[in-house]
Amino acid sequence: MEGKPQDQRYLEAAAAYGAALHRLAGAYEADPDKRRDLLQEVHLALWRSLASFDGRCSMRTWVYRVAHNAATSYAISQRRSRASAWIGLEEVSAVADPAEGEQAAGRRHSVDRLLALIQQLKPLDRQVILSYLEGLDAAATAEITGISPGNVSTKIHRIKNLLTQRFQEGVRDAE
């Protein structure tokens, strides 16, 4: 079933969420070439999945689930070859910000620092922080990730504190 409705749905989804998918790929892969491949994989997974779109959830939930699940599969396979460790939101505050101590903002762009922070998080925490950055509310994030809205709210609280701590420090360093 790879006919016109699937193509039409894909074009609509890509138009609405293409930029978000681009950002999501950046949060899962730092290397530009591999990131491009990952983005293509995510779009392919989305197009294939839309052959069976049945309206059981909103298009937004569908797109984010497909994208996160495809990217998480990718991250798991990459992690096996790189043997890098992921950490949780609870531990990340204790890990030094790579930009700390530099006269930060001028030398390293805030988005790069944000990406570096996200890329070291465990998949679930990464999914929540990305949903927060994309402006999704707790209920939508819960539907995508599978954790309760209460748990999402707790994680978002930690994320806000973490971002405040990291980025206000960066601004002070720059001053």
Binding site: E2, Y10, L11, A14, A15, G18, A19, A20, H22, R23, G26, L39, Q40, H43, L44, A45, W47, R48, S49, A51, S52, F53, D54, R56, R65, V66, H68, N69, A70, T72, S73, I76, S110, V111, L114, K122, P123, L124, Q127, Y132, L133, E134, G135, A142, E143, I144, T145, G146, I147, S148, P149, G150, N151, K160, L163, T164, F167, Q168, G170, V171
Partner: protein
């Protein structure tokens, strides 16, 4: 910098251009299906080549032990091929990535990896052992008749593979235990959820 500024900064990046045209997606989709089909075919071809080889020796070998050993190896390969076919993730259903929320999808993936690793004795290495041991003994017996030294040296072909099998099993067991710890973490995250979010 306020959190809203960070969100705005985040959302300002990223191009909305689709990286692939519909035609390219169709081509990649077809290539994906071909890759899966080829991978399965390779496994069946390997079995199709090896099984007749062992059956031939099971039929023609002089020593009964050699005949039984080769027969057992052929049967073990067929069993392995059946298990590989049964366990292979094959092509995931196209909607599977959307039907499961991230937590359920991630857990299912880890469970599949863990089961494949921890079950390696029961369906991959284990079935080969009886036939392998019988064939090795059948090879050693005539050598023992020639000289004890030659017989003992021939046993190296039993010991070396046994060490390799043991190492493979040990590494897999460790990897399965590490994956289990990740599953436990995900289950803890699920149980921390006060009410279940829809799957």
């Amino acid at each position: 910098m306020q959190n809203d500024d960070i969100r705005n900064l985040w959302q300002a990046q990223g191009s909305g251009d689709a990286p692939l045209t519909l035609e390219e997606l169709r081509k990649k989709g077809a290539k994906f299906r071909t890759t899966i089909a080829r991978r399965n075919l390779r496994e069946y071809v390997a079995v199709a080549l090896m099984v007749p080889y062992f059956i031939y020796f099971a039929w023609t070998a002089g020593l009964p032990l050699m005949r039984v050993g080769n027969g057992l190896l052929a049967a073990a390969l067929l069993y392995m091929a059946y298990q590989l076919h049964r366990r292979a993730p094959a092509s995931p259903a196209s909607g599977e990535l959307a039907w499961k929320n991230c937590l359920a999808f991630h857990r299912a993936q880890l469970e599949r990896q863990r089961d494949a690793l921890s079950g390696i004795w029961s369906w991959y290495l284990g079935p080969l052992i009886p036939g392998f041991v019988m064939v090795s003994i059948a090879i050693s017996i005539p050598l023992f008749h020639k000289s004890i030294r030659a017989g003992l040296l021939s046993l190296i072909w039993v010991v070396l593979p046994a060490v390799v099998f043991w190492q493979v099993a040990r590494i897999n067991k460790g990897a399965a235990a590490r994956i289990q710890r990740q599953i436990d973490e995900l289950e803890a995250a699920e149980s921390n959820s006060d009410s279940g979010a829809p799957e």
